[in-house]
Amino acid sequence: MDGLGEQRIRLGYAQAERHVRPGTDPGRPGTGPAARWSTASSVEFRTRKAHSMDVGLFVQYVMNGLMLGVMYALVAVGFTLFFGVMNIINFSHGDVLMVGAFVGLATYLGVSSIGVENPWGQLAAAMIVAASAMALMGVAVAKYLVLPLKNAPPLNTLLITLMLGTALHEAVRLFYPRGANPQRFPSLLPTDAYSFGNFTLRIDSVILLGTGLLAIVGIHLLINRTKLGLAMRAVAQDEDTAKTMGIDFDRIVLITFAIGSALAAFTGILHGLYYSEVNFAMGLLLGVIGFSSAIVGGLGNIYGAIIGGFLFAALQTLGVVAMPFASAYKDVFAFGVIILIMAWRPTGLISEKISERV
């Protein structure tokens, strides 16, 4: 359990690296955008450079914030998916994500050892194996842990999934080879980068951002436009009525868990690709952030989850930008604001449409 702090610090480092990484070296003359203005007068040059630095940095922050936001929104959408169907919190979601990332990493190592060199092939293999493995695990979790507790108090389900998460990350720490240390995740996406002043657009970030958004849109369409989604929503709204309409409740729950867990594996690999690193403790913090995002947005509402995810990322980024003297406090700030929002809107920004039956 000590890993949480390390994880946070490491996240911090990874971000700091990203800020430094931009291709241009400001100290080197003649390169980068500064060269274009070298004919201008020195005064004008200085002001324009300062100006462009602000915009560049600003865009960089926005880009980083968007990346984080997509990641958080994906986790939050997972929570919403589970909650939408069974009114339960699957707190192992974050750790399933972590296990998914590790399965992806192991698959990558496996396929490269049998001679698959093409990074796209490796990535596809990692994605497919991780997603199917996690989907299977999700089904098992639903069948043996969640469905048996259907009539128990909600606290029990919350606890059993929390404990499953603990068991998963302890298992990875103890049984994955050198699992207690962070593992390097390969960069399988093209690493080209384009610099605009202080802003560096990396192709892999763009791909990650795009895929993440696509996945969210996909889940949205699945829930709102397909027959399966209709069944899921029906089950969520009224289990008994849905059953009388011929919907197999247990099957819908299993399918939802399969989809949600596969989504977790996908998010985990995205996370690994973005930070070039995975570690056993990353699931807890991501899980809590995703859960907070889903809650702040309003549980059971996919838009709420998306809003919540981006809001949390924005708060963290704002914490860094607005308080550069205290950027270490960015998570304290973000969680503090989350608590304040909960006090202000106790059922989230977009609240569930429920009426209490007595």
Partner: protein
């Protein structure tokens, strides 16, 4: 009635108490790993057999009728244990740790065992107590017994900042408030340099009226007892007070109100029970107990760091209450003893203890969700038992 006639109904209780105390003493004294494993297996077997043949249920009823007698026996057992191991630092540290954790879990029990207020930040409030003790012992001359109370008050104060969000939200939403607070607290400690950052702080040992708690107790020439005896004694006194308080609250009309609030808020408020009032009472009082335990723990360990107060530790506190049987103070005492002593003694599973905890809680939730010792039905009249 003759003295013998009065003792007779108490006899089974005394036999059990002596048996369990002897068992614990042997368990704590044995060093060899196979011996410990065998003892644990034997103990588990005995408990299962007792449960199977209905002996346990009869015991429970016998004890239920004579609560005060059972309390006395347990205190005696701890005293015997302490006297027996008076030189052994390690064993006494374990005993004191169990006592302190039981105090903290009693607080948690008030919160979600009775009034149903979720608190997933137990370790954070415990930490508030610890850090209060650290700062006060370092920078002020406040008497150390007052510091214990200050730790509790500080935890209650910090907790009351959370009151508004905790009370306005329900169910999962209120879980997130405390979870977020737990994470926030640990991250805050790690980045805050005045509180020692990740390295943590040193805490002075307790000193009451010139009695240094961190010196071994020397009486005469050839008697020397471990300094942990001091902490066991103070812990035991606090535990008795906390236990009596929680039991009294449970039995009184306050406890009745708390139960009503937990079981059905709507019905409770229909009967004119002020839900907010009782939730606030339970949350603040619970945090006070947790903080009090934290302050004593910090002074005993002499060193605290943010890694002691992770979300995982909060989860362990919650699991203890759940394992013991929600709402049953005896249950959580038993659960704490098992959860703390077994991994400490069985070094082979030390590394795997979080994994085993997690698996154990999962199994309990699946197969015995009411916990090891389920809370008995409330006795409304003296001597009244539900059929």
């Amino acid at each position: 009635m003759s003295a013998r006639g009065r003792l007779a109904p108490l006899l089974p209780g005394i036999v059990v108490a002596v048996g369990v105390t002897t068992y614990v003493i042997v368990l704590l004294g044995v060093e060899s790993q196979t011996g410990i494993a065998a003892l644990l297996a034997a103990g588990a077997g005995a408990v299962l057999a007792a449960a199977r043949f209905g002996v346990a249920a009869r015991m429970g009823r016998a004890f239920g009728k004579r609560d005060n007698f059972l309390n006395l026996l347990v205190v005696l057992a701890i005293v015997v244990l302490t006297v027996f191991f008076y030189e052994d630092h390690f064993v006494l540290l374990m005993v004191a740790t169990v006592i302190i954790y039981v105090i903290a879990c009693l607080g948690l029990n008030l919160q979600f065992g009775y009034s149903g207020v979720l608190n997933f930040a137990g370790a954070a409030f415990f930490g508030v107590g610890c850090y209060t003790a650290a700062v006060l012992t370092k920078n002020t001359d406040v008497p150390h017994l007052v510091i214990l109370v200050a730790g509790g008050l500080m935890a209650a104060t910090v907790g009351s900042v959370l009151l508004l969000p905790v009370l306005r939200t329900r169910g999962h939403y209120s879980a997130v408030v405390t979870i977020a607070f737990g994470l926030l607290f640990k991250i805050f400690l790690e980045v805050n340099d005045t509180l020692g950052g990740p390295q943590g702080l040193r805490v002075d040992g307790m000193n009451v009226l010139g009695w240094e708690f961190n010196d071994n107790i020397e009486i005469g020439e050839n008697f020397e007892a471990s300094f942990y005896v001091n902490y066991v004694v103070v812990g035991l006194i606090l535990l008795v007070l906390a236990f009596a308080l929680v039991r009294r609250i449970e039995r009184s009309w306050i406890g009745l109100n708390l139960d009503a609030v937990r079981l059905d808020e709507t019905a409770a408020s229909c009967f004119g029970i002020n839900i907010m009032r009782w939730k606030i009472t339970a949350f603040i009082l619970g945090n006070f107990l947790i903080g009090l335990a934290g302050a004593l723990y910090a002074m005993m360990l002499g060193f605290i760091a943010p890694t002691n107060f992770t979300f995982g530790d909060s989860l362990i506190l919650v699991s203890i209450v759940l394992l013991g049987g929600i709402g049953n103070p005896w249950g959580l005492a038993v659960a704490t003893t098992i959860l703390i002593i077994v991994p400490e003694k069985l070094q082979a599973i030390q590394e795997y203890r979080f994994l085993l905890f997690a698996v154990m809680v999962i199994l309990i939730l699946l197969f015995r969700p009411e916990g090891l010792l389920p809370r008995p039905l409330r006795a409304y009249f003296p001597g009244w038992r539900p059929k």
